[in-house]
Amino acid sequence: MKRYEVIVIGAGPAGLSAACAAAEAGLETVVFDENARPGGQLFKQIHKFFGSREHQARVRGVRIGENLLKRADELGVKTVLGATVLGVYEQKEVAVRTEGEVRSYRGDAIVIATGASENMLTFDGWTLPGVIGAGAAQTLMNMHGVRPGARVLMVGSGNVGLVVSFQLLQAGCEVPIVVDAAPRIGGYGVHASKLARAGVEFRTSHTVVKAIGAGRVEGAVIAEVDGSFAPIPGTEETIDVDTICIAVGLSPMSQLADNAGCEMEYDSAKGGYVPTLNDEGLSSVPGIYCAGDMAGIEEASSAMIQGSIAGAAIARDLGYLTPDEFGERAERWRRSLDGIRSGMFAPGMKGRTDITNTDEGYPLSASLLARGFLDGADDGIFPSMIYSGGMRPIIECTQNIPCDPCQDACPRGCIVVGEDITDLPRLDIGKKCTGCALCVGACSGQAIFLIDDSLGDGYGTVGLPYEFLPLPSPGDPGKALGRDGEVVCDASVVEVRDSKAMDKTPMLVMKVPVSALGRARFFRPAENKNYA
């Protein structure tokens, strides 16, 4: 039986990071993955990640995946694709099916990093073709270039539902409505705002009750729900869609850990059954480590750090790193993990609806939580949203999320987040904004707008992030839309600023009356092919 020092199961962010950390210390490492391509779900994540520089914030997931693969390759990690691990046994033996045969391998240590599976929702007609998981939508459009449908109802407003809805718009689909049974939008407000200003309507305390259609989805019925999530009779509404996309959370895919004899626990905050682990990712079975979503649902950024810690811990166990060398690495990673796990969306905060203020004491926007956009009541409250004349960034970032690329992006130091990356950004109005647009491209939440009231004749400009095709050209007429997606006024394109540093988030600058500068946040070309 072939023996490896480290066997990693799953070539996603956690598994590849574990393999890299182990291989970097000199261990012979193999990664088995059942898919035809490595990277787990990273290659479907075409949006920019949050976090800090050490978490590769503002880098798109797909690029993070490429970098991770390249690194694994350079370190000599052997990745076997199309290799399904069927079971893990005593003596750290794994049974792997490849090309129609099953073989066993033995590892001195094993890392289980099998990721998550999507939760589903049952409703009348949920088995009809056209009802798909959010992961299916991402796979079809972002991996294979095929739109899952033309008009999509999104069910679920967690970050997955929000991110996938935006990607659907980018792929040229319409997303008329996002429903969520909870009374609050579950994901980041900035993700919701990108959708709201593009015309997507949020219906919190609503769910899908029926897929209509003979043989395929031809419509959906949504309804308001009561406090116990039961549909309220009489509130049903039929909407015209051909696809219903389900994004109601993930569950750890932890069967292999259970199969390997690891002690398991049910933890609803982690999404279901997970192995009991120490802070290095070690399970109750010596030599078997776990990392990533299978150990508790989080973001890819935390999965990568957990993987790195597990890989290095194995290197220490097997004598390739001294306890000091491990301790030094682990301390850095743990600090980084603490950073990404902080704020009002931290793993332990899931489902909390009692938070009413930011860490700084500002009241959370009720409109943002219920409808996905800030409204007039929020103006003048957040210091990053107060306009003081001339060229200025306005940062509509009002929740404590772990993210700080904006402060690194500004070469003039206009934007300050500080040491704690969940703090809200602030503007240093003593520093002069040159309108370079780097912050607009750097903000993973697309929440930064450049406002200038000095165009003359009562006009000013609003610069906004615009990740859609076709890209308008200078002079193009259209409408300026508000944060709620409603028309504010006529607008015309002054310029479209793009650069390599902005990484495909160009800044579209539109001319609007000065009176509209506080409200105009999106541009709809007069002839729009992407969405009506």
Partner: protein
């Protein structure tokens, strides 16, 4: 393989309007059938599975496990965490018998023999 009958319930089985809804997509098991199994004494995912084949189809419970657990939990008024662990069994993915028989993997037989909890 029989499900232990623990019924102490004197009240009749109460049908619900959405009992006809499919829950296990592979084996086409409805919510009503699962509720009925619980009414008849099934208390865990494993007991429902052995009676109705929920989670024994091609997908091996990838889609329905959580849904079935939620139904059992509601019917019994217990939290999902109190329903007992769902056993992760080899193979965790569908595999052709032909491939298994060719493999001679140790532990396959013992896992297979340990079919009863």
């Amino acid at each position: 393989m029989s499900v232990m009958i623990r019924r102490k319930n004197d009240s009749p089985f109460a049908p619900q309007p959405d009992d006809g809804m499919t829950v296990c997509r592979c084996e086409e098991v409805t919510k009503g059938e699962i509720r009925r199994a619980v009414y008849d004494g099934a208390r865990t995912f494993g007991e429902v599975k052995r009676r109705l084949r929920t989670g024994m189809g091609l997908c091996q419970g990838q889609t329905c496990q959580r849904l079935v657990l939620a139904i059992i939990s509601r019917e019994l008024g217990k939290s999902v965490g109190d329903l007992g662990k769902v056993t992760g069994r080899m193979p965790v993915r569908p595999v052709l018998m032909e491939e298994l028989s060719r493999s001679g993997v140790e532990g396959m037989e013992s896992e297979g023999a340990e079919h009863h909890e």
